[in-house]
């Protein structure tokens, strides 16, 4: 790990975001945006003047560019080096254009994620064609895993993994049709949880195999699995997420008791949190402290895995375990150790999990 950035409605840098979280500042609030929804809804969204969108770019592309710029500023990585690869994760990219523009062949090309990829790559002068991942809500974690593997094979020396999503009426109406949205701020793992909040954001993590970073925090292992059960509902047993966790532990060479905390997906839908609690328990991690950051950021889709990994890395560095906003009383059938209050910690390794539509699950382990 060389450098990182979190760009969200509550901060423009990782440090800026972490300071806000320590003060319990959340981006989730009631929004009145008729272009997104005719009625008010709870979400974490950027204000118009938060981002300066340059001509020829969409908000999605501007977010990626701003996030990568800040991460690069804190590193000596050269995007123009042919040993550097750019990886972009997004669930829906520029889909919002479908609502505001007339459908033409030109728009079709504009919406394609490879167009955004090219635009971002050209801005920084990347010589390699970027790798683009669109694998629902695990895209961000898959991006980091893909980066880790490309570096392990020696094909590249540096990987810049970025991701982002913007909330449009397309996305909001879809989650609403599933009755998956909470009418208030979401409450992960809580007894009274009743759905998720959506959120906007982007994040970037830079990985390198260069020896000068050998003492930094590392990606120790990662894995992806599929429920093979249902397209829109998670596994009933949690067995498949648990498989991904176990495989990640194996790859990291760690046992369950060496995981000092877990940054869960914790969307606050009844089924997701129950499934995750079962998976955590199946993998023997029931005593590890667990948090979900969704009460701060909402569900930031393709950025979620990146934002939550980076914030957790910051937790590891500062020795501060963040709570799960909205959590009071356990509402899952397995006993898991959900963190309710901010606390100091001495930690070495943590696990990040994510799950999404299509039955996908991902797990990744970071450590000192």
């Amino acid at each position: 790990m060389v450098a990182d950035n979190v760009l969200s409605p509550i901060g423009k840098t990782t440090a800026g975001n972490f300071d806000q979280l320590k003060k319990s500042v959340s981006g989730v609030k009631e929004q009145n945006k008729p272009t997104v929804s005719p009625k008010p809804f709870f979400a974490s969204l950027f204000n118009k003047d938060d981002i300066n969108i340059e001509a020829g770019r969409t908000q999605f592309e501007q977010l990626l560019i701003d996030s990568i710029s800040d991460a690069l500023k804190n590193s000596y990585i050269d995007p123009k080096d042919k040993k550097t690869i750019l990886i972009i994760s997004s669930t829906k990219g520029n889909i919002g254009l479908l609502e505001t523009e007339e459908y033409t062949l030109e728009l079709e090309k504009r919406i394609a994620l490879s167009t955004s990829g090219r635009l971002v790559a050209e801005h920084f002068g990347f010589v390699n064609t970027p790798i683009i991942i669109s694998n629902a809500c695990i895209s961000g974690v898959v991006g980091i895993i893909a980066g880790m593997r490309l570096l392990r094979t020696g094909q590249y020396e540096n990987a810049i993994v970025t991701g982002g999503d913007v909330i449009s009426s397309f996305i909001l109406s879809g989650f609403e049709s599933f009755q998956a949205l909470s009418p208030k701020v979401c409450r992960p793992f809580d007894k009274s949880r009743n759905g998720l909040n959506l959120g906007e954001g982007a994040a970037t993590i830079i990985l390198s195999t260069n020896k000068k970073y050998a003492k930094n925090i590392k990606v120790l292992g990662g894995s992806v699995s599929n429920d093979a059960n249902h397209i829109s509902g998670p596994s009933r047993t949690g067995k498949e997420l648990s498989l991904a966790i176990d495989q990640s532990l194996k790859e990291a060479g760690l046992s369950a008791n060496e995981i000092d905390f877990i940054s869960a997906h914790g969307t606050a839908t009844p089924y997701n949190d129950e499934m995750e609690a079962k998976a955590i328990s199946l993998s023997g991690l029931q005593s590890s402290p667990v948090n979900s950051l969704k009460g701060y950021y909402g569900h930031t889709l393709g950025a979620a895995g990146l934002i939550e990994s980076i914030i957790s890395i910051q937790s590891l560095k500062e020795g501060v375990l963040l709570p799960t906003p909205g959590y009071k009383e356990s509402g899952v059938t397995q006993s898991v150790n959900v963190v309710a209050n901010i606390q100091p910690m001495t930690a070495k390794n943590f696990l990040k999990t994510a799950s999404g539509f299509g039955g996908c699950n991902a797990a990744i382990i970071f450590g000192k």
Binding site: A112, A136, V142
Partner: protein, 206 residues
């Protein structure tokens, strides 16, 4: 250097034709895409009611996987977590995104919304075959055999998977193409090396 992985079988569906391992098994030219997909389903006497719920991208990918695996892959040959998928396309789920947005002007339909993700086709193939291993969906301007090969080789050579289905599944309006490959470590009498040259030459079957 581990021994080169092997393409055990391939399936290409394009321009009203279905090819398996280089031989044309079915042809139905002139039909629109939805009719063509249904005619493949009927021709191969498939019986899977979920098929009718899928969007065209999932139907195409699912049909290609059925033809690919038929008489080639024995069900439960490997453990569920030893089977995985690496797929790519150009336009993500845009074909169904347009249909969803059109429907949402009246009432947003959850059954259409769920197909507004490209990786749903992976989920459908996993559900059908009880595959639970590694998978990923990538967006590429055009088919990048080198990248796909790199991903699959990593998964097989590091013993993360025993077999992997990989390739391209693209649908937008009436334009479509599927090219799937079943890749394993061991050579069979019909297998060909999983080389970029072979991947591309199968991709250009038609």
């Amino acid at each position: 250097m581990p021994a080169e992985n092997q393409i055990i079988s391939s399936c290409v569906i394009e321009q009203g034709t279905v090819f398996k391992d280089g031989s044309m098994l079915f042809e139905n030219k002139g039909a629109d895409l939805a009719e063509f997909l249904l005619s493949i389903y009927q021709h191969f006497q498939l019986n899977y009611p979920r098929f009718y719920k899928m969007d065209n991208l999932s139907k195409l990918g699912w049909l290609a996987s059925e033809v690919l695996l038929k008489d080639t892959y024995e069900k439960d040959q490997y453990q569920p977590e030893e089977m995985g998928l690496v797929l790519a396309n150009r336009n993500s789920s845009l074909d169904n995104d347009i249909k969803y947005l059109e429907s949402a002007k009246e009432i947003a339909s959850p059954s259409l919304f769920v197909y507004t993700l490209p990786n749903i086709v992976i989920g459908e193939i996993c559900i059908r075959n009880n595959f639970k291993g590694e998978h990923g969906f990538y967006i590429q301007d055009s088919f990048d055999a080198g990248f796909i090969a790199g991903q699959v080789d990593y998964l097989l050579n590091n013993n993360i998977l025993k077999a992997c289905i990989c390739g391209w599944v693209e649908v937008l309006g009436q334009d479509y193409k599927a090219a799937l490959y079943l890749v394993e470590k061991n050579q069979t009498d019909k297998s060909v090396p999983f080389s970029i040259k072979n991947i591309n030459s199968i991709f250009e079957t038609f």
